[in-house]
């Protein structure tokens, strides 16, 4: 009798141990398989320092964000979960275009959901030294993610948040963004001259000051002889002047896209209007309040890049 109880206990222990080991192995393998996707496939040695190559949304409700952006742009999503991170890679026509990251907002805090702009560099730590030397602060220190590369997050001298990324798969070739992809980025700031100087120091941009009809300063940041972003004075009458980056997604029709934003639970921040290139742009917010731009661009109207 005593011998059979002993055998039973032994079997129970072996069984429990096996279950425990299996659970641990599953957890370990799921952690090990957590990888942000490569930016460029197939990988290349091509580099475009200063190009906006990625954007990450931080949102309190990942599922709601997926419904909104999926419905609006036809994006599909690949979920990545590990530890306390819920992240989804947004795909446009099978290509990764951005990430959606769920992060809860502590009770009682009023925080702004936003898209984080990633700018290409060759050397994250070199960019960090240059940024800190010219007034930046570290938000998230340099870190390497398998497949994606090395990245870090900073605030610029006016407090606008941006990230730098040295992609381990190189940077994608320059081409006109397809509808549903990021086409343009703008920095809104108090002092565009000082901000342009900062970004020039970090990314070696060529800076083009533009004639404006509104009396405000607008400059273009350029690398590889392509316009990469604009830096702009806050418009008149802006009450909350918090410097920030604003990224635009290409759409076929801005007015139609704005209507879809509204019917999907988003809202309009700037009504559609004609911008410098002759097409309509608008600024909208997703249901969590994250702002982003919509921009039409007719390929046939693009001029050949002057050299």
């Amino acid at each position: 009798m005593s011998s059979s109880i002993c055998r039973l206990r032994y079997r129970l222990r072996i069984g429990m141990t096996t279950m425990l080991l299996s659970a641990v192995c599953i957890a370990a393998s799921s952690a090990a398989s957590f990888e942000l996707p490569a930016l460029n496939s197939p990988a290349s040695a091509e580099r475009h320092v200063g190009k906006v190559v990625w954007a990450d949304l931080v949102t309190p409700d990942l599922a709601a964000a997926e419904r909104f952006y999926g419905g609006l742009f036809g994006w599909t999503f690949q979920s990545i979960h590990t530890g306390n991170s819920d992240y989804a890679v947004a795909m446009a026509d099978g290509r990764p275009v951005g990430g959606l990251y769920e992060k809860s907002i502590p009770a009682g805090e009023h925080r702004q959901s936003a898209w984080l702009t990633f700018i290409a560099v060759r050397d994250v730590d070199g960019a960090k030294r240059a940024a800190l030397a010219h007034g930046a602060k570290v938000v998230s220190d340099s870190k390497t993610y398998p497949s994606r590369g090395r990245q870090a997050v900073f605030t610029d001298p006016e407090g606008a948040v941006f990230a730098v990324l040295a992609s381990s798969s190189g940077d994608a070739p320059d081409f006109l963004a397809a509808p549903g992809e990021w086409i343009w980025s703008s920095l809104l700031s108090r002092d565009p001259g000082a901000e342009a100087a900062f970004y020039q120091q970090v990314f070696s941009y060529d800076v083009f000051d533009l004639a404006s009809d509104d009396g405000f300063v607008h400059v273009i940041l350029s690398s590889d002889d392509f316009a990469r972003a604009s830096v702009n004075t806050f418009p008149a009458g802006t009450a909350r002047r918090h410097a920030h980056w604003l990224n635009f997604i290409r759409v076929d029709n801005t007015i139609d896209a704005v209507a879809k934003v509204v019917s999907s639970g988003g809202r309009v921040l700037v009504e559609p209007h004609v911008d410098r290139h002759g097409g309509e742009v608008a600024v909208v917010a997703d249901p969590a309040g994250a702002p982003f731009g919509l921009m039409e661009w007719t390929d046939s109207d693009s001029k050949v890049e002057p050299k």
């Binding site: 533009l210 405000f216 418009p235 109207d301």
Partner: protein, 103 residues
């Protein structure tokens, strides 16, 4: 019984070691903080944006290339501490051409 205790101890220690290793992998601990599997780039901005005032002429987008230069900010209490591109260089536009085509 001693044999049974040893039989229990070995897999138990193995499970403990795997648990510790798994914890390190998830948090990035033990690799100098330079490689991590969790994601920490999520950053909420201070609350509230104001997009009022985007009136006529307020343009933030790119041009089609060769846009008129100008906008010297010195008369507008703004600094111009950057090095402007030479006036002889036309303002560039965004990349053109469809995916896969090179220019």
């Amino acid at each position: 019984m001693k044999v049974l205790r040893i039989g229990w101890l070995a897999p138990g220690l193995g499970a403990l070691a795997l648990t510790v290793l798994n914890g390190c992998a998830v948090t990035g601990v033990g690799v100098g903080g330079t490689v991590g599997y969790g994601y920490d780039a999520g950053y909420y901005e201070p609350w509230g944006y104001d997009y009022g005032g985007w009136g006529y002429g307020y343009r933030v987008g790119p041009g089609r290339g060769g846009d008129r230069r100008g906008g010297d900010p010195r008369g507008q209490h703004q600094s111009r501490s950057y090095r402007p591109a030479p006036e002889s260089r036309p303002t560039p536009s965004i990349p053109h051409g469809s995916r896969g085509s090179r220019h």
